[in-house]
């Protein structure tokens, strides 16, 4: 970090030391802490709120943006052996045998994605570095790949571990390059097959494939209104000819650049001349795209939408975009800008974002102080709730707005999931159900349960419903499930 950046950090942190005087200010600060705990994590818990209160919001954000080691989490993740393997080890350990049905039994290729999905849920519930997990989820969606077919069943491990996670809070340009050269993306968006139409390589199919080029411009960088043309799509496709992957039968799935497949000659992208330079042409184009204003705008808008509101406040999008451009795409810096902004804490945005399936389930598990020993069943439940991990087919990934997340069938599934969590009926997950009994036995059982789960009091309608259910003989786990089913818990 440069001295200039360090100074800027210090200024940012200093700006957060609010003069706290009197009860109103205390109450407002408490509300801000709770809001931050909800939005910058996979679910606020009383422990997390205490932690933020103890270190202060600014320092907590700074700590989260430069996460340190988390040995208890590492111990949990050791239960997913695929996550440490390279492609050769994965191919050897989870071989596809001819005629064998797919599936996620141990030793089958489908097991790998099951472990990756379980890893995502386990981290969401247990990681101390919550912002890093939120951002990993954000980027996995932004740079979506469908990981349940072909070689991506193997390369999804490296995609999450090596391409997305290390850069989730780093430089956008590095993240963009890491995805561009990842076997998972090269396969998913077909660039591995794109070759110069004039290549002299003997292969059955040769010629351009525009798929990656188009989505790179439309979804990863400039946005659909970002000012590119069909001709730019073709030129970018020419630039990336030869960016391919090794064949599975070689025993590894890795990115390689094959010069013979590369289209020779000068290309013109967005009016810029790209001199003939083989693989470097692609790197040059990614560098260029990462610095475009339209890219900064797209990333800023999506991030503000994720953290603040489905309809992102324009003033904050503008500032986040400015920070993106000024810091050459420093993601941590952009996130810090958002999480310290007045717009972020504005009362009208509090408790208004509907939780995504992963946010809902991980949040419920965190609230229930669950011990996720094996996250397979929990990850399957995230899929049942509508967003199976790494299995969005369209390149645009999942939409994160309430309108896309809320559905009638989905609400019923949420109510089912709430009961599975509260009653400890998810395989591989242990929940301390005795605590519900304890809370339900107190004189003000409804208050105790809502305070425990929502970290605040519930609406009159929710309280009445819970009181009636209690009077009608609802068992403690059902009462807890009902709090997890409440409209209050669906939002953050």
């Amino acid at each position: 970090m440069t001295v200039r950046r360090k100074l800027a950090w210090a200024a940012l942190v200093a700006g957060l030391w609010l003069p706290v005087t009197g009860h109103a200010a205390d109450a407002e600060e408490e509300a801000r802490i709770l809001h931050l705990a909800k939005r910058a994590s996979f679910g606020a818990t009383s422990d997390l709120v205490d932690e933020i209160r103890r270190v202060g919001r600014a320092r907590w954000i700074a700590q989260q943006l430069a996460p340190s080691a988390d040995p208890p989490l590492a111990a949990r993740l050791a239960r997913y052996p695929a996550l440490d393997m390279d492609s050769a080890a994965l191919l050897a350990s989870y071989p596809q045998r001819p005629g064998e049905a797919a599936g996620d039994a141990i030793g089958r290729p489908g097991r790998i994605l099951a472990e990756v999905s379980a890893d995502v849920v386990t981290r969401a519930v247990h990681a101390r570095a919550q912002i890093a997990e939120v951002m990993t989820d954000f980027w996995l969606n932004h740079f979506n790949v469908y990981a349940a077919e072909g070689p991506t069943r193997y390369s999804c491990v490296a995609y999450v571990r090596d391409a997305i996670r290390p850069h989730a809070l780093g430089r956008f340009r590095d993240l963009l390059l890491a995805t561009a050269e990842s076997p998972a993306m090269l396969y998913y968006l077909d660039n591995y097959l794109s070759s110069s139409p004039s290549t002299r390589v003997r292969r059955k199919n040769k010629g351009l494939n525009e798929n990656y080029a188009r989505e790179l411009l439309e979804l990863h960088t400039l946005g659909v209104a970002g000012g590119y043309t069909q001709n730019d799509v073709v030129e970018v496709a020419r630039v990336f000819t030869g960016w391919t992957i090794t064949q599975q039968r070689s025993g590894r799935i890795e990115h390689v650049f094959v010069p013979r497949l590369h289209e020779p000659g000068v290309k013109t992208v967005l009016g810029h001349r790209v001199a003939q330079a083989g693989r470097d042409e692609g790197v040059e184009v990614l560098d260029m795209l990462a610095r475009e204003r339209a890219t900064a705008e797209l990333v800023a808008r999506k991030l503000v939408s994720r953290f603040v509101a489905d309809v992102p406040p324009a003033s904050l999008v503008e500032r986040a975009k400015g920070v993106f451009l000024a810091t050459d795409g420093n993601i941590a810096w952009v996130v810090a800008t958002i999480l310290t902004a007045d717009e972020f804490y504005a009362p009208e945005h509090r408790d208004t974002k509907v939780k995504s399936p992963l946010e809902l389930l991980a949040g419920a598990l965190r609230t229930a102080r669950a011990d996720v020993r094996l996250g397979f069943a929990a990850a399957t439940l995230v899929g049942n709730l509508g967003q199976p991990i790494l299995r969005a087919q369209p390149p645009i990934g999942w939409s994160e707005t309430a309108a896309a997340v809320v559905s009638a069938g989905g609400m019923v599934t949420r109510f089912d999931a709430a009961y599975l969590v509260a009653s400890g009926r998810i395989a591989g997950v242990r929940v301390d159900a005795a605590r519900w009994t304890e809370l339900a036995q107190s004189t003000s059982a409804v208050d105790a349960l809502t305070q425990e789960i929502l970290l605040s009091s519930a609406s009159a309608a929710t309280r009445t419903a819970l009181e009636e259910a209690r009077a009608a003989g609802a068992r403690p786990a059902l009462l807890a499930a009902l709090v997890l089913s409440s409209p209050e818990f669906q939002q953050q």
Binding site: N211, R214, Q230, S407, A408, A465, A469, A472, S485
Partner: protein, 418 residues
Amino acid sequence: MGAHVDMRRRLCLTGGAVAAASFGLGPRFLLRAAAAATPSRDAVLVAIFQRGAVDGLNMIVPHGEGRYYDARRTIAVPRPGAGAGAALDLDGFFALHPAMARLAPAFAAGELAIVHACGSPDPSRSHFDAQDYMETGQPGDRSALDGWLNRHLESAPEPGASTVRAVALSSQMPRALSGAAPALATTTLTQVAFGPPGQGALARAAVERMYATRDDLLGRTTRDALASLDVFGRLDGAASPPAKGAVYPSTELGNQLREVARVIKGKVGLEIAFLNTGGWDTHVLEGGSDGQLAGLLRDLADALAAFRIDLGDEMARVCVLTMSEFGRTLEENGSGGTDHGRATAMMLLGGGVAGGRVYGRWPGLAPEQLFEGRDLAVTTDFRSLFAEVLVHHLGNPDVASVFPDFAYDVKQRLGVIA
């Protein structure tokens, strides 16, 4: 014939509408009120969105054009009569992909119609923009939010309409059904309860109360969800296996169409069913008679054929409409697939469909006839097809509300609905 079918939703002015008219409200209001006054309606539309842009040229093969064969070295479907894997001739010029053989009887019976070279007036080759445009019915307008099917529900309101009047078989509401009018998105039509065994009623009562007065998306959706459980619960007793001979493929689409047929047969007020199928973005190894696209087409055709047999006489009131955001390049690309193009083909299946014909003006495949020299040109605006279904199948004459900025000329209509 057309005027006769127009009467399917009889336009009888009620006293209320006349009174409203006397307060100076415009004719569109009258139309809406008239539609609202329809005593009973039994038409069902099953819309199937082929997401990813289906290759219309391999689905409905223009075997009469030699250029089709010139442009597709490895993926062309052989001409009818060319032996195994040959396309199935429809009219001497077009042919059905051989994997869709189970749909051929419907074409022969005049219940399956094709509209070729159909697509959007907007040339976007972005899946997501083009899907949105087709679903909002407002091509080129990124600010449009609500869907054409929702505007239909809104412009033809039904007092006391069923909770399951409009259902999307999906975990998220498709744009086409998004909007002010109530619609349901759910992946299953068979779940009828939730909560722990023995305490399900208690759980339901509590949820009902928690969401009873919330006037927001969560509240409205949950209330609809609970009401729909009751409707599907009523169907439970009437749960009948598919009719004899109706063999649905064991796929997502097959299962969904089987559930939709069950709900149609249960007569619980379903008017619009919306289904998604994916995998049509065949950039790589699309295949010809066999292969990737063939597998998808077989699934679609087998599911639709089973649906038609399952519903039997009920098909008289049902129209299935397939759609896709655009078509694909005439030339195959460097990976044995096709890239994003322009026009595609859409299908209509139903008792009221003037089938057995391929509709639309064929633009030709010569370089100067192609859009931007590469793609099948659009000669039928998808809105004219959708509007015809709206007016002549669903009986809603209010095209102006459903497709704003689109001038629907009934005299120019395709005539694809009998």
